[in-house]
């Protein structure tokens, strides 16, 4: 069952690459010869190789389709799939949320806010540890990136709207 899912996932990757290869070749076709040569050639190669991969996946022998091992040697069967999926979605939500914080509030506010919220809300750490680590982050971030290097972090959108 797990192998089927793996196989399906790989099929989706092959299909996506087929679409990308074909799109690239078609878009490039209209360009001047030298501009189009590489995109068309590589696009077509990718298309046909992805097609071959998809056919191998559907009809070929299942060589090398052993369940993915992570480096610690554990296999997916060892972990609760639902928890793993939930945590994956969760971490991507945090990544996306961090990006939004940066856009709205700017790096100097978003960075300590991320640390604070992640530790307190996600990890449910103690107030002491959360505040110590957040404070260290502020010192490190401001000391290095703002004060010494003077990285030009733009103001967040909210900050700009307010003033």
């Amino acid at each position: 069952m797990k192998n089927r899912i793996l196989a399906d996932g790989k099929l989706w990757i092959s299909l996506t690459l087929m679409v990308i290869g074909a799109t690239v070749a078609l878009m490039a076709y209209k360009w001047p010869f030298r501009t189009a040569l590489f995109p068309v050639s590589i696009g077509l190669c990718v298309f046909f190789m992805a097609l071959a991969d998809m056919l191998l996946g559907l009809f070929g022998k299942e060589e090398g389709l052993s369940p993915k091992e992570d480096a610690a040697g554990a296999t997916p069967e060892d972990r609760d799939q639902k928890i793993a999926w939930r945590r994956t979605v969760g971490i991507f939500a945090w990544i996306g949320g961090f990006f939004l914080m940066i856009i709205l509030l700017g790096f100097p506010v978003a960075v300590p806010l991320l640390v604070f919220l992640y530790l307190k809300v996600q990890n449910k750490e103690s107030w002491r540890l959360t505040l110590i680590l957040t404070g260290s982050t502020v010192v490190f971030f401001y000391g290095l990136f703002v004060w010494i290097i003077e990285t030009p972090f733009p103001d967040g959108l909210l900050v700009r709207w307010l003033g």
Binding site: G9, K10, G21, P39, A72, I91, W94, V111
Partner: protein, 500 residues
């Protein structure tokens, strides 16, 4: 020449140059370790301080920083799976799995010692090649450069998975990387390719957000999913003892380290190609040292040789990259472009003068690379226990810090939010590839080499028509490429026939 060689050492051992070199090395130590800081950008910042220095002080200051960055950049790659620098990405492939197995100390010992050997090798090559450096660089025209990119692309097959399907997937990854390299303004007619009306994409995708996204984000996701420390549930006692084993591994595989240093230096000499590629070619070569299929399958899961190869080549390439920079004023890499600016500020004109009138200063740069790395590696080895223990901290505590370092590192490329979007997109792609056991290094090779291959192929064809195919150096490189591609199969056949 020998006089200048000794004079160069004497320059570095004077009080002020030595102090400035120490300060530069200290800065480089942290720049390499922190993914949010790049060696090139830091060089640009340090330029403001050199205006009141003499060349004998400024060069050790700048080079002391820059030459140490690749050494300590490997530390982050091993400990966190986040490339400390773009050129230390290949170290992640086996270094991070070693850390996850609780062998962080061993991996760090190996990468530091191989980095030191690589740095000394690169510096020695620079020193020895000074009489022939100009004809050496001039020997490689656009046809030869194209063939060398082909050699680099051949490594895709070596870095791919096992079996026919593994090879196909590797080639697909390389092809996809090639497509991504074509985003932006084309080099022939200036036509905008695949930019979808976005000004940000005119210059193409930046390397750092792509690499950090492809390699670091999936590891952060893994940490969140596993809920453990980086080193998993491995008992504490095991970590520090591995350092000695790592150093032993370096000397047990000494000739591999030397060959990878040679690869790094060679690619460093070639302007433009540089460290982005040499690390992967070195890694591919390291995988070829596997004697059995089972050994080969161990690469990517924590084989120390997968750490030794890139570790050595990353540092040896710095000495190599100085060669075209000093001899021609042609930067051997992005950091070298900024170093060139420093040359002009100091009133030094790169070219024959640097190899004649200012030969002692050139040799002092060689010595800076050696001495700075010896100091950096010694300091790292003294504190390596403490450094390695970072892998025992709970993953959930590390995540927000690793995340913000990745974001700042990506943002610093161009100070543009587009880099953050690229980071996240490639983060998703990296996770998908990792989930379905699709190799990622081939993508990087295609991405780094694609544009370079295109430009050089057109340059060669426009200049020489079809005759470039018959040039002697082209044919030699072609033979090496074929040998490189076929070596695993030939060695396997020989092994099988010996067993029979």
């Amino acid at each position: 020449m020998f006089d200048a060689f000794i004079q160069g050492l004497m320059i570095n051992l004077q009080f002020k140059p030595f102090i400035f070199m120490l300060i530069g090395s200290a800065i480089g130590f942290w720049v390499g370790i922190l993914p949010g800081l790049g060696g090139g950008a830091t060089l640009a910042l340090m330029m403001s301080f050199i205006y009141t220095m003499t060349p004998q002080e400024a060069m050790p200051f700048l080079l002391g920083m820059y030459s140490v960055v690749a050494t300590t950049g490997d530390i982050t790659s091993v400990l966190f799976g986040i490339p400390g620098e773009a050129t230390t990405t290949a170290t992640i492939v086996d270094g991070y799995p070693m850390a996850k197995k609780g062998e962080a100390g061993r991996a760090l010992g190996a990468v530091l010692m191989s980095s030191l050997i690589g740095a000394i090798f690169g510096a020695a090559l620079l020193a020895l090649s000074i009489p022939i450096v100009r004809p050496l660089v001039l020997a490689f025209g656009s046809p030869e450069m194209f063939m060398l990119t082909l050699l680099g692309l051949t490594c895709i097959s070596t870095l791919s998975g096992r079996g026919k399907r593994g090879l196909l997937q590797g080639l697909l990854g390389g092809g996809f990387g090639f497509i991504c390299s074509m985003i932006g303004q084309d080099s022939q007619a200036g036509v905008l390719r695949f930019t979808f009306g976005q000004l940000y994409l005119w210059g193409g995708l930046s390397t750092i957000p792509v690499m950090v996204g492809l390699f670091a984000i999936p590891e952060i996701v893994n940490l969140a999913v596993s809920g453990t420390a980086i080193a998993g549930d491995v008992p504490l006692g095991k970590l520090g003892k591995g350092v000695r084993q790592g150093i032993k591994d370096t000397f047990q595989n000494f000739w591999l380290v030397v060959r990878c240093s040679l690869i790094g230096s060679f690619f460093g000499i070639l302007p433009g190609v540089g460290g982005g590629v040499s690390q992967w070619v070195a890694y591919a070569h390291a995988t070829q040292s596997a004697k059995t299929d089972e050994e080969r399958a161990g690469f990517g899961k924590g084989d120390v040789r997968g750490v030794l190869g890139p570790g050595a080549s990353n540092n040896s390439k710095e000495g190599g990259a100085l060669i075209p920079t000093i001899a021609f004023g042609v930067p051997g890499g992005p950091g070298m472009a900024i170093l060139l600016g420093a040359f002009f500020v100091m009133g030094l004109v790169p070219g024959p003068e640097m190899l004649t009138k200012h030969l002692a200063l050139t040799y002092s740069m060689v010595w800076t690379i050696v001495i700075a790395n010896i100091i950096a590696v010694t300091v790292c080895l003294l504190f390596i226990d403490r450094i390695a223990k970072l892998t025992t901290i709970r993953g959930n505590l590390m995540i927000p810090f690793l995340l913000f370092l990745c974001f700042i590192g990506a943002f610093s490329s161009n100070n543009h939010y587009g880099d953050l979007i690229v980071l996240m997109v490639f983060g998703v792609i990296g996770c998908i590839l990792m989930r379905y056991d699709w190799p990622r290094p081939p993508f990087i090779l295609g991405f780094v080499l694609g544009r370079f291959a295109e430009i050089n192929l057109f340059a060669a064809t426009l200049r020489y028509k079809a005759h470039w195919l018959y040039r002697p150096k082209v044919m030699i490189i072609l033979l090496i490429t074929v040998a490189f591609a076929l070596a695993p199969y030939i060695l396997k056949k020989r092994r099988l026939s010996n067993e029979e």
